[in-house]
């Protein structure tokens, strides 16, 4: 564990994240993986807002925030500058799902197409949380947000999650991975692998948000685990565009995951929406099929 003198961590306590915040944990784990020799380019978002109210920054490493859309472009400039100065700091971008999958796509696509030696970490809490839980391209199918609310004639978010890892792998990224704060060491190891893989690498880490999803603050890691155990989140690595090492699970029905979150309550009350639940189960089944994550009953019993 990379510790800063005086016992305080590279991502220090005193930040303003809600209690039980998934992204805050992701930030701590990220800096454990990078250590001090890193420069962080951050997007506007929950993490930026809860960690850097002037003059009280929680970041113990060089950190720069410019705009919502441009961490990848800023990082491109930093990487070019460091190369020219012969410096060794790793360059790591960090942005939420809104910044990464929606408004920042232009800059990320450019940076990845140019092949800069940067690592982009997306903390995916599946909606624009800082502004009050509005829908993003990463909001799951059927989830209610303030801009894709459930209603008498709406089942909530009508679109499935955008597959950003595949998009960036298609840019020729040498290493792309998904991770989850439910498996902190796995996330740390993937970050270490990414920052030591030359070229543009991407990790999308699942960081459940108690406030936005509607569950108890202590349940954050359980929720992340359940997402994986139901197949609605798959932890895998893609090396040069090919999937390797997807985490296998003996899958639980999606209902166990959905019923624990207010954003899905409309699928159960006032009346069950078995049709929508089935569609969500279909998404999980498709994930399982695509990534081959199901432990066969026989296999798991040995």
């Amino acid at each position: 564990m990379a510790e800063v003198e005086g016992g305080c961590e590279l991502f220090s306590a005193g930040h303003r994240a809600c209690g039980g915040c998934g992204p805050a944990l992701a930030a701590r784990l990220l800096l454990k993986a990078t250590g001090k020799n890193v420069i962080i380019a951050a997007a506007t978002g929950c993490m930026e807002v809860f960690s850097t109210p002037y003059p009280e920054t929680a970041w113990g490493v060089p950190w720069i925030h410019s705009l919502f859309e441009n961490p990848a472009a800023v990082a491109s400039g930093i990487e070019a500058s460091l190369k020219r100065q012969g410096r060794t700091e790793k360059v790591v971008c960090i942005g939420g799902d809104g910044s990464t999958l929606d408004i920042g796509v232009l800059c990320i696509s450019g940076a990845f197409e140019r092949g800069h030696d940067i690592t982009y970490i997306c903390y995916d809490n599946e909606a624009y949380m800082n502004t009050g839980i509005q829908r993003s391209g990463a909001t799951p199918y059927g989830a209610s947000t303030t801009t894709s609310p459930a209603g008498s004639c709406s089942l909530g978010n009508p679109r499935p999650k955008k597959d950003m890892p595949a998009i960036l792998a298609a840019h020729g990224a040498p290493y792309v991975a998904t991770a989850s704060i439910a498996y902190p060491n796995d996330f740390v190891q993937k970050v270490e692998r990414a920052i030591n893989t030359p070229g543009p690498c991407y990790i999308q880490v699942h960081t459940p948000c108690c406030t936005g999803w509607g569950f108890e603050s202590g349940e954050t890691l359980n929720m992340a685990k359940l997402a994986i155990e139901t197949g609605l989140w798959v932890n895998y690595e893609m090396v040069d565009g090919r999937v390797e090492k997807a985490k296998k699970v003996s899958r639980k029905p999606v209902e166990e995951y959905l019923q624990k979150q207010k954003r899905f309550r409309h699928l159960f009350k006032p009346a069950r929406r078995d049709d929508v639940i089935a569609q969500i189960q279909g998404i999980a089944d498709a994930n399982a099929e695509r990534f081959g994550i199901d432990i066969k009953r026989k296999e798991s019993s040995e």
């Binding site: 039980g20 944990l25 002037y54």
Partner: protein, 86 residues
């Protein structure tokens, strides 16, 4: 304290913002029931679970927001939440 040029700051001053006052419940660690696995320290979003001399762990109540993540992660269920007397 003069403003730094360009909205820039050195690290360290976040600690001035003690977030302990946020919690309603506080975690109580039972050292007898601790395997020293350190998971609670690893997953605390505040990074305020500290190792004691004995190798067991305890929360820094200046910063702990009482979220309860440590309670859920502890393999021995050695942490319980207690209403905070204010």
């Amino acid at each position: 304290m003069a403003l730094r040029v360009g909205c820039v700051a050195a690290p360290g001053r976040a600690l001035e913002n003690k977030t302990g006052g946020w919690r309603v419940f506080k975690p109580v660690f039972d050292p007898e029931n601790c395997t020293k696995c350190g998971m609670c320290a690893m997953v605390c979003p505040e990074g305020c679970v500290r190792e004691t001399e004995e190798g067991t762990f305890e929360p820094d109540l200046d910063y702990c927001k009482g979220c309860g993540i440590c309670v859920e992660i502890c393999p021995k269920k050695g942490i319980r939440m207690e209403k905070e007397e204010k």
